[in-house]
């Protein structure tokens, strides 16, 4: 009797697994990772450097809702937003969920932000679909929302964002410049369920397929945004593909450039994003090119756009921040590169 129950249970679970694997192969009708953003404006690096946030007509309460505050990218975004708030003369309140798996926390924070009272929101969605209810709460109260960093599946918010798909394509271009003979390479991807990472991977692979037949992505291991895990995955992948001639990743910490085992640390390595350690790595030759993600400007322009909207101005629906020029040894300390960093003493004021 017991044995029968047992067998049944395991058989059921096994069947569920197989069924899951089967249906999963097709995948639900989800996001199209192979599409660029529909930009209304594409400011260049020069235009961004000269951009000034508008003065607020009165002291608005602005909320910046972040995915997390654990990581340079997020803190830089907060820094940009704080700078803009200071210049515009508005109050800024920052909240942060606990990463890309916590839409429940973000929704709760949206409700808390509304409780507390807010005039406009700069919103970094935790999940493309899971953050929709939070946006709808603001929509119902006619509070303007500017989405930054990654997309949410709603036509309501204005957008200030880097175009992940085009960044992926541009990275392939850069990579081919660094390895003109082409050859096999490994492309380190981010979390397998993160929209930004999948778009960058899609862009990179599409561009390689379309323009660089001599290049081949032999492996694209996924890892969480965890430098240790990424390094482990990379070293394992290197065992399977010891003859690679180039290396690229969707994020500068996957893996940390200085941690790449020799002799592979001599290979051309191109990545995305920027932080002080990456600046050192670029100067030290560990990274040949990195495409900045403009987190500073997402915060800065994001708050600027919200203030503009509250002032009653017209603002462009979708502003795409530039990822070019890429940062190389030659411009590692340029004004543009410095705009991708915040002062070492800065600490985000949350709550």
């Amino acid at each position: 009797m017991k044995r029968v129950v047992l067998l049944c249970a395991f058989a059921l679970l096994g069947a569920a697994s197989v069924a899951g694997a089967r249906t999963g192969a097709g995948g639900p009708a989800g996001t199209d990772f192979h599409a660029p953003l529909n930009c209304s404006t594409k400011p260049t690096a020069q235009q961004l450097l000269s951009y000034k946030v508008p003065k607020a007509k009165k002291r608005y309460q602005i909320s910046l809702m972040e995915v997390s505050l654990n990581g340079y990218y997020y803190v830089l975004l907060a820094y940009g937003a704080e700078q803009a708030a200071k210049q515009a003369g508005v109050d800024l309140r920052i909240t942060a969920a606990s990463g890309y798996t916590t839409p429940a926390i973000q929704l709760q924070q949206a409700e808390d932000v509304i409780s507390k009272g807010t005039d406009g929101v700069v919103f970094a969605p935790v999940d493309i679909n899971g953050s929709v209810p939070a946006v709808n709460k603001f929509k119902a109260r006619k509070i303007p929302v500017v989405q930054v960093s990654t997309q949410v599946n709603s036509p309501y918010p204005y957008t200030v964002m880097q175009d992940d798909y085009l960044m992926g394509k541009a990275l392939a271009d850069q990579m081919h410049k660094l390895a003109p003979k082409g050859g096999e390479g490994i492309f380190m991807a981010g979390p397998s369920n993160a929209t930004w990472s999948r778009k960058r991977v899609a862009g990179f692979e599409d561009q390689v397929k379309a323009k660089y037949p001599d290049m081949k992505v032999v492996d694209a291991p996924t890892s969480l945004v965890d430098p240790g895990e990424a390094l482990t995955k990379l070293t394992a992948s290197l065992q399977a593909h010891p003859k690679i001639t180039w290396l690229a990743s969707v994020d500068y910490s996957l893996p940390v450039p200085q941690a790449i085992p020799s002799p592979y640390n001599k290979l051309p390595y191109a990545t995305m994003g920027f932080d002080p350690n990456t600046q050192k790595a670029v100067q030290g030759g560990f990274v040949k090119t990195t495409l900045p993600t403009d987190a500073y400007y997402m915060g800065y322009l994001g708050v600027g756009t919200v203030v503009g909207l509250l002032n009653g101005q017209e603002e462009p629906r979708v502003q795409c921040t530039p990822y070019l020029p890429g940062i190389t040894k030659a411009n590692a300390t340029s004004t543009w590169a410095q705009k991708q960093l915040y002062p070492a003493s800065y600490k985000p004021k949350t709550g």
Partner: protein
């Protein structure tokens, strides 16, 4: 039999009442502090409604966890179960139409997960930690494959009726949580099953000697745990309007914290539905309050960590032997020492 009667849901012990009173007092104190701090925002009807909405999911998971705790184990797969059931419900809803079919499928998935956990932990005697850790890892993989690693959106609008939108003036999630509380109370306090769950958790040996089929009730407790967890997962999915595999992340630990704060003993046999309810509300008031009064993100984490440990210590302080134990600083014999070891605590 003494244990059976003493800790059964209907035999109210002074211990349990004292526990509830303590949590209630702490809750009121917290409420007063936050209200005094931010009267304009915290102390409003709107914010109270917010807290109720936010707490409802946690209440239901805490009840789920409570079944596992009462029987003497625990379940760290409840969070993954929530996400997985949400994904199953969402996919079935989209592909086979019909909210009802989807919800039923989600609940069945949860019950099945509980059944496997129960069999592993009951008759096969795998430790609850190993069994539910394995289940957690497996469910994350399976759920992500089912959903292609994305959130499953575009669900029927009527799905929001079970957790998203309001029924009249009452948020549906709150109503559903109330239903779950009533069900859990009925099972634990008004049925033989409930009585035996307390009995087995209180003393497995005694229960066995009086002829209780221990394994059967262990399995039943984990099935209930899985079922309630998937119920919470479905409410969460409706609230977020998506099924996402990892959306339950964090609830496994929060649910244990809520139950323990509410006076459920890790180790089994002690705990009341009202306590779990109060514990969950306490945690939610704390997070909402910290948010509203504007405490920094990092400090919020530190406060939460301290509160979890403090709740554990306070829970032990309800034991009359505690003071003496602290004085000698040596764990005393008896019930609480037994209860120290998770999932394997019952004296035999």
């Amino acid at each position: 039999m003494k244990t059976l009667r003493r800790y059964a849901g209907r035999g109210i012990t002074t211990l349990a009442v004292a526990a509830n009173l303590q949590v209630l007092a702490a809750l009121v104190a917290l409420w007063v502090v936050f209200s005094a701090w931010e009267p304009a925002t915290f102390f409003t009807g709107n914010n109270s409604l917010n807290i109720a909405r936010q707490a409802s999911v946690l209440v239901v998971v805490a009840l789920a966890q409570m079944f596992a705790l009462l029987i003497g184990g625990f379940d760290i797969s409840v969070g993954a179960n929530m996400g997985f059931s949400g994904v199953v419900a969402a996919r079935i809803m989209i592909e086979h139409g019909g909210v009802t079919v989807g919800v039923v499928a989600g609940l069945l998935a949860g019950a099945l997960i509980g059944l496997v956990n129960g069999i592993l932990i009951g008759p096969l005697r795998v430790s609850p930690f190993a069994a539910t850790l394995g289940m957690l890892t497996l469910l994350l993989g399976l759920g992500n494959i089912l959903s292609d690693g994305q959130s499953v959106g575009n669900l029927p609008a009527s799905f929001s009726q079970i957790g998203g939108s309001d029924w009249g003036r009452i948020p549906s999630s709150v109503a559903l949580a109330a239903l779950a509380v009533a069900l859990a109370w009925l099972v634990l306090a008004r049925t033989r099953l409930g009585l035996y769950v307390y009995g087995v958790g209180g003393s497995r040996n005694t229960a066995r000697l009086v002829g209780v089929r221990v394994y059967a009730y262990e399995i039943a407790a984990y099935v209930l745990c899985g079922l309630f967890a998937s119920f919470a997962g479905i409410i969460l999915a409706a609230r977020l309007s998506v099924g996402q595999t990892e959306s339950g992340a964090g609830f496994e630990l929060l649910s244990i914290a809520a139950a323990v704060i509410g006076g459920t003993a890790i180790g089994g046999g002690i705990g009341r539905v009202s306590g779990a309810l109060l514990g969950a509300v306490f945690i939610q008031v704390l997070t909402n309050g910290l948010d509203v009064v504007g405490v920094g993100v990092y400090v919020q984490g530190m406060v939460t960590g301290i509160v979890i440990v403090a709740a554990g210590v306070v829970g032990l302080m309800r034991d009359p032997d505690f003071l003496q134990r602290v004085r000698v600083c040596v764990p005393a014999r008896g019930r609480i020492t037994d209860a120290r070891w998770l999932g394997s605590t019952s004296p035999r």
